[in-house]
């Protein structure tokens, strides 16, 4: 008799549904913490006059900060109760498109939807592969970026 599937009906029922919405205002502290962690000295992110000289309207946010925006409060157990028993989680990868700059002071609403779930065997055992679509909108409801990525969840029990 085979192993019991991780992919339950309750997990499959979440496909197509909104997982969570996260709203954040881009402030100086957020940008400074990010740039310090990255060691990114690009003057465009630090100096408004350099940014304007480079064609921006104000001090822009590095694209890498946008890709990490949904991480805050992102613990899967907070938003995906059906998978909360799968304690292990690793990033599978993804793709982001950047349409418009995000500026200091912008309020970004990040919405995350579950696009697809699959089960597969990996080095860490049976896994659920969650594919999410994430849309980033500013305070004028302009879509500034979109992302699609996968998170792999696995059981940590032997």
């Amino acid at each position: 008799m085979g192993e019991k599937s991780l992919l339950t009906e309750s997990i499959k029922a979440q496909v197509g549904k909104l997982v969570n919405t996260h709203v954040m205002q881009v402030d100086r502290r957020m940008i400074d913490q990010y740039l310090d962690a990255m060691g990114d000295l690009n003057p465009v992110w630090h100096d408004k006059s350099a940014a304007i000289h480079a064609g921006y309207a104000d001090l822009p946010v590095p694209p890498g900060l946008i890709t990490s925006m949904q991480m805050e409060g992102d613990s899967p157990s907070l938003h995906m109760h059906e998978q909360s028993h799968l304690k292990g989680a690793v990033d599978g990868g993804g793709e982001w498109e950047f349409y418009h700059p995000v500026y200091l002071g912008d309020v970004i609403t990040v919405t995350r939807k579950l696009l697809n779930v699959k089960e597969r065997q990996g080095k860490l055992g049976a896994m659920i592969v969650n594919t999410f679509e994430v849309i980033y909108r500013n305070q004028r409801s302009v879509v500034v970026a979109k992302g699609v990525w996968t998170t792999l969840r696995y059981s940590t029990k032997e």
Partner: protein, 151 residues
């Protein structure tokens, strides 16, 4: 003033300036504070091992951000990152040195923009690729000054 790469300067298969990063527990802590992702697998070795991992691992989203930095640095102040795709192929353990590398695969104009596609990756000190991906950036041509971007 930062160097500005121009569209005319690009040729196919041109290499991209390497970005090297030494990872550490301090870096993991800073990234946790910056991103809001406090998953202990990135800074608590005992916890990580308890989840079947060999040790603490570098945050995957940090590596995405590092590749964004790699590409925006290459594009210069007037360059713009339009797209970035990654596939995580292996774990990097905290404490190891990782390098972002890449090369130009295509140069073209589309919808009034001068674009280049690049193959990008992260490799460890043994040269093993732990992240593979691609990116598209726009570059200014010598014939035109950049326009101001609002949204």
């Amino acid at each position: 003033m930062s160097y500005q790469l121009m569209f005319e300067d690009i040729t196919k298969n041109m290499g991209i300036t390497i970005l090297v990063k030494e990872t550490s527990s301090l870096l993991s802590a800073k990234w946790a504070a910056a991103s809001g992702d406090f998953d202990p697998i990135h800074y608590d070795k005992e916890y990580a091992v308890g989840l079947k991992l060999p040790s603490t691992v570098v945050n995957g989203r940090f590596k995405v951000a590092l590749l964004c930095q790699f590409m925006t640095a290459y594009g210069g102040p007037a360059g713009r990152l339009k797209r970035l795709a990654v596939r995580h192929q292996g774990m990097d353990l905290v404490g190891n040195t990782i390098s972002c590398k890449g090369l130009v695969t295509r140069k073209y104009a589309e919808r009034g923009e001068c674009l280049i596609d690049c193959e990008i990756w992260i490799e460890d000190v043994q040269g093993k690729r732990t992240v593979s991906g691609s990116a598209t950036i726009s570059l200014p041509p010598r014939s035109r000054k950049p326009t101001v971007q609002g949204n």
